[in-house]
């Protein structure tokens, strides 16, 4: 029987082509297996063959996503693959994003089983866990000998068309897919069992885990607020009349930065709210309820604060993904830092 053909994607580092200084190498293709591909071939056994390895530097990939993806897809296609493995990337962020991007592209183009592996905090996880099977790995390549057998085992099951079991059973990161099953006990009994364990201080496993949010240590206090430059940011959807940048009223994909230079207050003639998550009647009449410009200007005049920067930053908070909000924050914070802002007041409705 002819062996099933597997193609493997790795970065320059795992291919043995230098370190960070070589992370700018463009895609290249080599027959057979290289580096971690050895372990992959071993796990897959006789019925499968790692026929080719495609390589790209992580920086090159990150800076030339379109071009890199196109070249790699063409190289991968030349190997006539039956399945595709990327990485694993462990906790290498750019590598994780590259693995996820190319794995998803291969799945879309060739409709073959694809799989990758990452540490749960790799940014590639949040980007691709809904689309791909990502085997949960440790945070460094030291975990390769544990990770690769899981990748190989799941890939074989996918290639043989077997039923893919739960994330716990297969070792992949939950994809947010709900599967119905028959439990031994009804919900009430299971709930009481959990409650009893919880009250007894024993370990129990929730059936509805809440998302985990990351934490940032607080910054030191502002030393002298009377000299501080202050900026206002809001998720309350206040925009200039007419919403010139067409910020969405829910699930925002963008934010705006608008001037308040020379204004003593937020006039309803100048500003409106487009937020789709609260009754806008009051704020439409008085936008200062969300961006407290009138109060801040008075405090500025009285010398209670140093000065107000001459703009505010705004978006709609309702339904907006954590990923988008985080992206907005990262971007506009750069401007706030450049503009030497000492403190921020962020208002939410």
């Amino acid at each position: 029987m002819e062996k099933k053909r597997v193609v493997h994607y790795i970065n320059n580092f795992f291919a043995g082509i230098g370190g960070e200084e070589k992370a700018d190498i463009p895609p290249e293709s080599r027959p057979g297996r290289i580096g971690p591909g050895m372990a992959l071939a071993e796990v897959l056994g006789d019925k499968y063959e790692v026929v080719g390895t495609v390589i790209c530097g992580d920086s090159y990939f990150g800076e030339n996503i379109e071009v890199a993806q196109e070249k790699l897809l063409s190289m991968i296609g030349d190997f006539k693959p039956d399945a595709f493995v990327a990485g694993p990337a462990f906790n290498a962020g750019r590598y994780g994003v590259a693995c996820g991007t190319i794995a998803r592209a291969v799945e879309q183009k060739f409709s073959i089983p694809v799989i990758t592996g990452m540490y749960e905090e790799n940014p590639g996880v949040d980007m691709f866990k809904k689309d791909l099977y990502i085997i949960r790995t440790g945070n460094s390549a030291a975990d390769m000998r544990v990770a690769m057998p899981k990748i190989g085992a799941l890939l074989k099951r996918m290639m043989e068309g077997e039923e893919i079991l739960s994330p716990e059973a297969e070792g992949y990161i939950p994809r947010g897919i709900r599967v119905n099953y028959f439990a031994d006990q009804n919900g009430a009994a299971r709930g009481v069992e959990m409650l009893v364990k919880k009250m007894a201080g024993e370990a129990y496993v929730t059936e509805y885990p809440m998302p985990v949010f990351d934490r940032v240590d607080p910054q030191p206090a502002v030393k002298n607020i009377k000299k501080a430059r202050i900026a206002v940011v809001t998720s309350g959807g206040i925009v200039p009349q007419g919403n010139p940048d067409r910020i969405e009223s829910s699930s925002a994909t963008k934010y705006g930065i608008y001037s308040i230079e020379g204004m003593d207050m937020m006039s309803p003639n100048d500003f409106m709210t487009i937020h789709g998550g609260y009754d806008r009647a009051f704020v439409t009449e008085n936008p200062n309820l969300v961006v407290p410009l009138d109060a801040l200007r008075q405090l500025e005049r009285e010398g209670e604060i140093g000065e107000l920067v001459n703009y505010f930053v705004t978006t709609t908070g309702t339904g907006t993904s954590i990923g988008n909000a985080k992206g907005f924050g990262e971007q506009f914070s750069k401007k706030l830092v450049e503009d030497k802002v000492d403190a921020v007041i962020l208002t939410s409705t």
Partner: protein
């Protein structure tokens, strides 16, 4: 957004109505606001009364920014 501002090195106070959400997302300095459709003020009390509430809340926010905290703190 609160966290990214703080991560960038700027102290930030979150004035919000739904304090549990703010706690969940990880804001460190939190000032509870009045209501969802009118966080900073209360239009039902008339312009003057509403402005007084807003001024009080903004001053509280400034106070929060001047206060050292070593974890999530709600300034009631």
């Amino acid at each position: 957004m609160v966290k990214e501002i703080e991560r960038a090195g700027i102290p930030v106070v979150h004035m919000c109505t739904v304090v549990p959400i703010s706690l969940t997302i990880g804001a460190n300095r939190i000032v509870p606001a009045v209501g969802i459709p009118y966080p900073l003020g209360n239009p039902l009390l008339g312009e003057e009364g509403s402005f007084k509430i807003r001024m009080k809340l903004v001053k509280k926010a400034l106070k929060a920014l001047e206060t050292e905290v070593d974890g999530q703190t709600v300034f009631e």
